[in-house]
């Protein structure tokens, strides 16, 4: 009984903060749009009793989901989000791994400082940081001014409002999520394993490929999911840094809700996005589980 009450708290928490909102969103996705407050129909009217509830359920349908398949905007947006998220995850890995590696190699007394520097950006609002990138990347921005000053370019580069800016924004924002799990895997790596590999005939580089990389695999996987999952549904970065051609599902979702005021379609988009995200989330959890088991030995 005590055990039950103990787990009841987090379960109740999840129920209230996750399941109930999801059910509401799901219900809206099955409704029809309407010029009303709230802007959809039907709404549950309990005063009419049993008949009212039956009526309510009868009016729900999958129409919005079928609609998503008829307009190619949506699946293109999903696909484009997937591509942008995947490419930025890969780029974040390529940038984050060397940083994590350098941190793990640095002298002990330096590590807390380096760790601090990685976490430091979180102390400023995410939104402000993305806005400041607009200042850096715009045609009159710091980057272009600097490049013009050095004479490397004669015309300002168009970076802001393109996918390039979106990649930069995503990489910048999620880099710490990549660095930290990889760093924690590399930090645990026993240096004598690399010496053993060298002793057995590996050069430094082969030792890195055969020992360091496989032993930091869990960190790489964890970091990649931590970047990929939020990047897939990212809305702020594409809408502030991306251009009109940047197609991401988070942006589509926002537009359906606030510009189009079509809550049911927006909800359907959200439900599908959630279903897509569940796959990597489950994979991520399994990876974490495996890692815990391996460490438990």
């Amino acid at each position: 009984m005590r055990r039950f009450s103990l787990i009841a708290v987090p379960y109740f928490w999840l129920l209230v903060l996750f399941l109930v909102p999801f059910i509401i969103v799901f219900k809206i996705s099955l409704s029809d749009t309407a010029l009303a407050i709230p802007p959809y129909t039907p709404t549950l009217d309990v005063s009419t009793g049993w008949e009212g509830i039956r009526n309510f359920f009868a009016q729900l349908d999958w129409e919005n989901f079928t609609f998503l398949t008829t307009d190619d905007l949506y699946w293109k947006a999903y696909l484009s989000s997937f591509r942008i998220a995947a490419i930025s995850t890969l780029l974040t890995l390529l940038i984050g791994y060397p940083i994590a590696y350098a941190m793990a190699q640095s002298p002990d007394e330096w590590r807390p400082t380096l760790m601090m520097l990685v976490i430091l950006p979180f102390w400023t609002s995410f939104l402000i940081r993305v806005y400041s990138w607009m200042g850096i990347l715009s045609n009159e921005g710091f980057l272009n001014q600097f490049l013009l000053w050095t004479g490397l370019i004669s015309e300002p580069l168009q970076i802001l409002n393109t996918n390039k800016a979106v990649y930069i924004g995503i990489i910048y924002t999620y880099l710490p999520f990549m660095i930290l799990p990889i760093y924690s895997a590399l930090e645990k790596l026993d240096a004598s394993l690399l010496e053993a590999a060298e002793d057995l005939g590996c050069s430094r580089i082969t030792a890195f490929w055969l020992v360091t990389i496989p032993l930091s695999k869990q960190g790489i996987i964890a970091g990649s999911f931590l970047v990929f999952i939020p990047a897939l549904g990212e809305f702020v970065i594409p809408s502030l840094l991306g251009g009109s051609k940047t197609l991401m599902i988070g942006k589509v979702l926002w537009e359906e809700f606030f510009s189009n005021r079509d809550w049911p379609v927006a909800s359907a988009v959200a439900v599908i996005l959630l279903l897509i995200l569940i796959i990597p989330i489950v994979l991520f959890q399994r990876n974490e589980q495996k890692q815990r088991e391996a460490e438990g030995q």
Binding site: S192, E195, A197, D199, L200, G201, P214, L215, A294, Q297
Partner: protein, 374 residues
């Protein structure tokens, strides 16, 4: 038929496999190895013994190529090792932590070095099987290191380091993580494998018993220097200094003043006490300060003064350490000097002859004690 004793170090014509020539290694201001010169011969089981920080691990790491000497030369099979990286040396090392690759199975661990050589797969498989057999791990080839016991891991590490048939195998505290019983078994296994493979072993250890058991020669180190190199029996019976005598086994050290007498020295160690006599080849001149080292097991303990003994002193039993097979008596002499005497417990404990506070006589022969410079 007399068996030839394996002692290449006494043979002037033998060429050493490893030569340290005036090797000095400094880490900043700290001198880890101090102008060390030492030869190690092929097929030796050479033990580096010393307290932690004495430089024994540094010596081994220089042989493996993980450290380079600050000064001096290291030659392996006549070749200067300066600038040769670890992966280009015919030397393999068994690490103290075993350093088994956790993501590979036992068989893959053993095959690791062979694969780097680019040997054909059937050859590698055959060699891995051979190694598994040698270390009695046939059943565990497919397991991961965390799925086997500590003793098995130790054997995997050994198999992996032997797989490439190195000229020289370095063992860094190989048995440190094993419990005593397993350690003793493994020591004999190590000797057996060393004999079978004919590989030269250099072992680093701080456990003197281990060094004595396995090694053909033991080097006792302190503060970056080798104090004495000799066979285990010599190190024990004829230590060249108080440090070595004290480091290896249990010993009584009596400081005193020596005067030449006959083929040895008479040693005065306390006011009013009869002088002790020891035969020795050590030359201290006509007289001088000295330290007398006597192993506890060479001291007899009796109730009455023995009639014939050259060295006999009386004292009182202060403490008795019961070790099961042996008992060590701590006897305080009249001058306050403590002497340990060890006897085998041939009788049951209840029938022990001596007990606390008993007045006893300790005696030893004139060859039992070693005269060292004080």
């Amino acid at each position: 038929m007399a068996e030839t004793v394996f002692a290449p170090w006494n043979d002037d014509s033998a060429t050493p496999l490893i030569q340290f020539k005036n090797v000095t290694k400094r880490f900043g201001d700290f001198v880890a190895i101090d102008n060390l010169t030492q030869d190690i011969y092929a097929q030796e089981f050479f033990a580096l013994l010393g307290p932690s920080g004495c430089g024994k691990t540094t010596m081994m790491r220089m042989l493996a190529g993980f450290e380079t000497p600050t000064e001096g030369q290291i030659l392996i099979a006549g070749q200067d090792m300066a600038g040769v990286p670890p992966n280009k040396r015919a030397v393999n090392m068994m690490f103290q932590s075993y350093a088994l690759f956790p993501h590979l199975t036992v068989a893959e661990n053993i095959a690791f070095g062979l694969k780097r050589e680019g040997k054909p797969k059937p050859e590698i498989d055959a060699r891995v099987d051979e190694m598994l057999r040698l270390t009695r791990l046939e059943k565990f080839g497919k397991r991961k290191p965390h799925q086997i016991s500590g003793g098995q891991r130790q054997r995997v590490a050994l198999a992996r380091s032997l797989a490439k048939a190195p000229k020289l195998l370095l063992l860094d505290e190989p048995l440190g993580a094993l419990d005593k019983k397993l350690r003793q078994e493994t020591q004999f296994e190590l000797m057996d494998i060393q004999e079978k493979t004919g590989t030269t072993f250099v072992i680093v250890t701080h456990d003197q018993e281990e060094a004595m058991t396995v090694a053909s020669r033991v080097a006792v180190m302190d503060e970056g220097r080798i104090i004495q190199v000799s066979t285990p029996a010599d190190i024990y019976e004829r230590p060249n200094s108080v440090y070595v005598a004290d480091f290896i086994g249990d010993v009584n050290i009596i400081n005193g003043h020596a005067t030449r007498a006959g083929d040895g020295y008479d040693i005065a160690y306390a006011e009013g006490a009869a002088k002790l006599h020891a035969k020795t080849s050590t030359d201290l001149g006509n007289e001088g300060k000295c330290a007398l080292a006597i192993r506890p097991e060479k001291v007899s303990i009796t109730a009455k003064k023995p009639a014939k003994s050259v060295n006999a002193v009386s004292g009182k039993i202060i403490d008795i350490a019961y070790l099961g097979n042996l008992s060590t008596y701590h006897v305080e002499l009249e001058g306050g000097q403590m002497i340990k005497a060890q006897t085998a417990n041939t009788r049951r404990l209840a029938r022990r002859t001596f007990t606390w506070e008993d007045d006893v006589w300790l005696s030893w022969t004139d060859t039992a004690a070693i005269v060292l410079e004080g």
